[in-house]
Amino acid sequence: MSYQVDSNGYYGTFGGAYVPEMLFPNVEELRQQYMDIIFEETFQEEFHQLLRDYVGRPTPLFFAQRLSDKYNTSIYLKREDLCHTGAHKINNTIGQIILAKRLNKKRIIAETGAGQHGVATATACALMGLECIVYMGEVDMARQKLNVERMRMMGAEVRPAKTGSRTLKDATNEALRDWINNPVDTHYIIGSVVGPHPYPDLVAKLQSVISEEIQMQLMEKVGSPDPDYVIACVGGGSNAAGAFYHYLDNPNVQLIAVEAAGKGVHSGYSAATTYLGKPGVLHGSKTLLMQTDDGQVVEPHSISAGLDYPGIGPMHAHLFDSGRGKFYSVTDEEAFKAAFMISRTEGIIPALETAHAFAVLDNIRFEPTDIVVINVSGRGDKDLQTYIQFKDEYIKD
């Protein structure tokens, strides 16, 4: 079975490009050109030079001794939190900004949840001198205020999305509407492996540098490129796609994806898409989607803005459906506790999104000989406000 996108833009039965005709030319332009552009030699040179000199890659693969002792196994942390701007999101925005320039686009739009993708887009635009407009749900603007100010400081305009749950889904709707209204000069930098084909594949390929580096670093450290487990949190699924990418066809590597259960999968306040979702179409692709029986999209909930999304990328829907990936979900409280645990065990304050990946350690029985890689998708500075706010509720010591 293939876990890569097929020539029609599908992963198994998921994917495609379900866009209104107004967006067809934009998406088609990308579809026809993205492979040629990103595999072209000068693109690769520019991309890798910027990843090295600007983003700070390769990011370290760190052997977490105390954490390993705690779980009686070998745990390595892939430090995407050490990327410039503090999360993996910039791998994608650097790639897409070079792509946008080659497509002669003058104006960049993006959606953001946690604000990390917005910040990474604003950063790339400042670097290249391009106009930048970021759509962000009003609720997220409040809970990720620092990132709003970072975007503004770098010259981006942050436009509030005021409809629906006023979170990531609604910001994505607004970005798509902007693109309909500005089809010629604008490139839409989607922040995850979601959206119409070719976006899921484009973003996965740009993020695949994560697993490319893990392979080399593990080879160096343990003499084999392959771990037993790769663990990553899943909002739309871009950090997971990047961390899984070069292991997709290697069945000896277990791929563990962690979704946000919110207040619990049955609480009505959850974002555990594989658990609660059914096949449906949102934001241009057929995927697993949280929805009512009548096909209306359900408003998700997660304490972490970056996981607060009612769908997952089509590649992950296929990994779930085929059994290649194993999906877990973690509650707000479990993630919160894991964030404090990892801060105290390793001196690394993770993003709330990333904390979900750590929380799953309690749910898996590892062998002492296992090699476990956790993708530390981002750092927790942006979440300090939330950590302070809920500390008394969740942490009792």
Binding site: P20, M22, F24, N173, N181, V281, L282, G295
Partner: protein, 264 residues
């Protein structure tokens, strides 16, 4: 080249009998109140509109501007669903003969089941469907036969940026008419540069399409309607109508007067 079956429904008959000034009015089912759907249809039919397009509300209408977004939200809050709508319309052909289209985003239709949706719509006398985010390729591969067997028109959309090649594909696959989106925008926007728009209208007018065309998006009054009609068989009004019924305290008085003003 074309394998398409010739349909026979009220849309096809309309375009056979009438070649100009065709007025299609769009409204959102279940807005402003859940049970307004049938009264609005009757009122529009009595006022002499040529075609009625009923929007099936969706939580995430990405091609729509603020006015239709809001009508979608209100309709959903009122409890409108595809099932409820088809139920409201089950006896509609006892009362009105004007052609009726259903328009909506694909997801609610997928959940209802496309096959069931096509069969049930056809059985109650719906004449055509617009599904803006169902790709033409998917339609051709999976659903074309189903639509034809059920005598239901499938209406494709084109925009100023639609390529020549794609225009031909959309013309080949559309059965009834082509929905010409007037500008690159979401619904209910102010129209931009009219010269560029006119050039696009002229280009399409001269392109020899098999299907007749209706122009939609940003048509709001007699002037914009008449202007659009000079380039196509007719035009579609949506946001302006929604805005009117939102403000109206008596739709049976205001709908005929709205239609009269559009016709001029």
């Amino acid at each position: 080249m074309s394998t398409s079956v010739v349909l026979s429904n009220r849309i096809i008959q309309l375009f056979e009998n009438k070649k100009e000034n065709i007025l299609n009015i769009y409204f959102t089912a279940g807005f402003p109140h859940l049970e307004d759907t049938v009264p609005i249809i009757k009122s529009l039919a009595a006022a002499g509109v040529d075609l009625i397009e009923i929007g099936m509300p969706y939580s995430d209408p990405v091609a729509d501007g603020p006015i239709i977004q809001e009508s979608n939200m209100v309709a959903l809050d009122n409890g409108m669903t595809v099932k409820k709508l088809l139920d409201q319309l089950k006896d509609i052909r006892k009362e009105v003969s004007v052609p009726i289209l259903l328009m909506g985003y694909i997801n609610p239709v997928l959940q209802y089941g496309i096959e069931a949706f096509v069969r049930d719509s056809s059985a109650i006398g719906i004449d055509g469907v617009i599904l803006p985010d169902l790709p033409m390729e998917e339609y051709e591969r999976h659903y074309k036969k189903l639509f034809e067997e059920n005598n239901l028109s499938f209406i494709g959309l084109i925009t100023p940026n639609t390529s020549e090649k794609r225009l031909a594909t959309i013309d080949r696959l559309s059965t009834g008419f082509i929905y010409m989106v007037s500008t690159n925008s979401t619904t209910g926007n102010e129209s931009k540069s009219t010269q560029a728009v006119d050039q696009y209208f002229q280009r399409i007018q001269a392109s020899g399409l098999v299907n007749p065309r209706l122009i939609g998006f940003n048509i709001k009054d007699h002037t914009t309607f008449a202007h659009a009609c000079s380039f196509a068989q007719g035009a579609i009004i949506g946001s302006a109508f929604i805005k009117m019924i939102r403000q109206s305290d008596n739709i049976h008085r205001d709908i005929p007067s709205f239609v009269k003003n559009i016709r001029g």
